[in-house]
Symmetry: C2
Subunit: 137 residues, 2 copies
């Protein structure tokens, strides 16, 4: 298939990478993601790579590109679900995934995004903060 | 790749199908899902098929199987993101996806699961309901 589906989950976008990223697929993913961020006003992008067993410099660059592009569009990027072996390979290759945040799994990645983007979890929290602003004592 | 990743999102599991399901992959998915439902105590399973362009009776049967197995484990199944062409094909083939709930996208699927499973959205809601129970007037 030529496209990786992008799921909208509240204020964030979720992408699960299940296939090896070759040139065209990676370019499509970059384009689709940026278009979706712009269209939906998403504040964060979660990329799940738990099915990825081999990571090379190309993959590393794609993840870095997505993070840089998203940041320009005011969205944070978190890569989640990296397998231990992939982390080992990344370090041995000297790839540091600069500018990319990581988290153990989707739930922790979501928490990280909520913290990083100041998106409020629910309406009550929002109301409490508004009340606190109006009443500084 | 031999396995489709299953993501845990709060009380639900999320699966994105991006590749054609052949026999072994489908069997692995069924096994993995049921194991995950049992291990995590998940109350619902969301299956995103927005990347699926061709659906046949095999695919229909797999979705039905997953729904039946999940129900035995006390979890509801919702299929989301079906493309219009796929829906047309399903009806023309006479496949009705019995026992499978559907929703337009992940967000609506999530809402449907919350409604079907009585899982509460947040702590406040829970407290309100408890208060209502204790004070019947």
């Amino acid at each position: 298939m030529e496209r990786i589906p992008i799921l909208k989950m509240g204020p964030f976008l979720l992408v699960t990478i299940q296939v090896d990223l070759y040139d065209r697929l990676a370019l499509n993913l970059e384009n689709d993601l940026i278009t979706m961020v712009s269209k939906t006003g998403a504040r964060g992008v979660l990329i799940d790579i738990s099915a990825v067993t081999i990571v090379d410099s190309f993959m590393g660059r794609i993840l870095g590109n997505i993070a840089s592009m998203s940041r320009i569009m005011d969205a944070e990027t978190v890569v989640v679900g990296m397998q231990p072996a992939v982390a080992i390979t990344l370090v041995e290759l000297g790839l540091t995934l600069q500018g990319v945040h990581t988290a153990l799994n989707v739930e922790r990645g979501m928490d990280l995004l909520y913290k990083k983007t100041d998106v409020l979890l629910d309406q009550n929290q929002e109301e409490e903060e508004e009340a606190a602003e109006q009443d500084p004592e």
